[in-house]
Amino acid sequence: MIFSKSLVAFLFVEATIGLLFIFSFYFAYMILTRWNFNSPSKLQYTLEKRDYFVSLILYFALSTKVVLLPFFINLLNSLSEKLPGAMCAAGVVSANEYGQILLTLKVVIIFISGTWLILNAKDKLEVNLPYIKPRYYLYLALFSLILLELLIEYLYFTNISTEEVVLCCSALYGMSSAGLTLPFGLDIYGVLSLFYATWVLLFLSYIKKYLLINTIANIFYLVLSFYALTYFFSTYVYELPTHKCPYCLFQKEYYYVGYLLWGSLIGGSFYSIAGFAVAKITKFKTDYLYRNSLILDTIFIAVCTLYVVAYYLKNGVFL
């Protein structure tokens, strides 16, 4: 098993959040089964007070969860120093079969947590808390996922061997473009063309208020961006055509640009998906969420493109 102070702190906070969720479960169950806003009964008044309490706990727990994701990435990078063969988080994530599942699960939880936080804020704007049940159904989904995450975290960290050599980004992502398995059978230039075309679609769908199309395009954009960033744009960040890694971007040598790139990409997709979900559940307009999404998606594409342009202006050639 691997050990570090940051890891202990991280697991402590994760376990605390898990305990807060377990603590809230009884009240959530009572609210889901017994809630009737119009009732003047003692039980209803008690549930209203409990909802206030539980909402406050979840607000802080889920806000912490959002902050913990970049901390987790930082933790993985710092753990790479302890694993033979690992040079960045790629080696730590691939140290066993749970790493990639855990990372994906964390992103899914962040998306649902963010949606819960927005829904909670909207619900509190109404006198009769009309979205209380969707909020608690979302809580149940989060509760299951957070328990699963705790289990996978346990399995992941206890199964990392500090003696076995791990594969890192040079082996995982460093192959030539010709040998890549890219989506839709495209080569990297096909992916790039679709990537830019999808951004144009995001822009137009926002302007024309085709919000469902915007959400679908955002999911598509997220997938394409992963490949475009890992297999093309990252080489311009590293200024090395054979270095293709989504994790080294988070390191000091590259000015931690990974936090900006991945943060804007995940944030952009989140706002669009949350905008669609919140608009479906509530009567509120969510245009501002789509606007945030477009701003973040544009930051992502602009920073990626800037690296390529800057490299060309500096060296007179492309990689």
Binding site: P40, S41, Q44, Y45, K49, K124, L125, V127, N128, L129
Partner: protein, 225 residues
């Protein structure tokens, strides 16, 4: 006339399920009609201030129905309760609750600050109310330097700044001498004659002596009698 306040089977228990459990309000049912001048009368500790606080959305009941201007104030989340109080209610407290270091004018204006009203409007409105309660000459005096009667008139002006349709007053004459009490009652009566509903929690006989068409609700040990 429509009911401004409607209460059915309202209960309030402090520290429930503990040795300190105290049943402050017991099955209260009452209504107050638009334009009425009403007093809640009872001895100290009878629950009249508690009931007034529940009506003003300052306290939540344990059970029962409470509507003020047809809004379920007892169930409002805090954010909405604050907005409701600001838009519909004027509160007058026994201990005035003024900011001692602020001038009379500033004290009256403070209630308008959350509404983001223009400063000129706040000042005009505050001066008009100070004139109504005959306190315009003291507008630049700090609240600390006012007499008890002046403090209560300042508190009344502050309560009226948002033009409330309902005034809730908790023992407004308790700390005043006879002459100042009469002044305060005259102001409240004048407001009532202009259409404002007034509900006062008091044990002071002076209200019944001065107001002929007074509705009196007696409260004893947390129950209406």
């Amino acid at each position: 006339m429509t009911n401004v306040i409607e209460i059915e089977n309202l209960n309030l228990t402090f520290s429930p399920n503990t040795p300190q459990e105290f049943h402050a309000l017991k099955n209260i049912s009452l209504s107050v009609k638009e334009g009425e001048f009403c007093i809640l009368k009872g001895v100290s500790g009878s629950g009249k201030s508690t009931l007034l606080s529940v009506m003003g959305a300052l306290l939540k009941p344990t059970s029962g129905k409470l509507e003020v201007f047809s809004s379920p104030v007892s169930k409002m989340p805090d954010f909405h309760a604050s907005t409701f109080r600001r838009e519909h209610l004027g509160f007058i407290f026994q201990n005035f609750n003024l900011f001692d270091e602020f001038t009379v004018l500033e004290n009256v204006q403070t209630a308008l600050v959350p509404t983001n009203a223009p400063v000129a409007h706040m000042q005009t409105r505050a001066l008009a109310l100070l004139s109504m309660v005959n306190l315009e000459k003291k507008k630049d005096t700090t609240a600390r330097n006012l007499s008890g009667g002046e403090k209560q008139r300042c508190a009344i002006a502050r309560a009226l700044i948002n033009n409330p349709k309902l005034i809730l007053a908790d023992e407004p004459t308790a700390n005043l001498d006879r002459k100042n009490s009469e002044n305060v009652i005259e102001i409240l009566t004048k407001l009532n004659s202009q259409g404002t509903t007034v509900l006062v929690a008091t044990h002071d006989e002076i209200f019944e002596q001065m107001i002929p068409d007074l509705k009196v609700i007696h409260i004893k040990e947390g129950a209406i009698v």
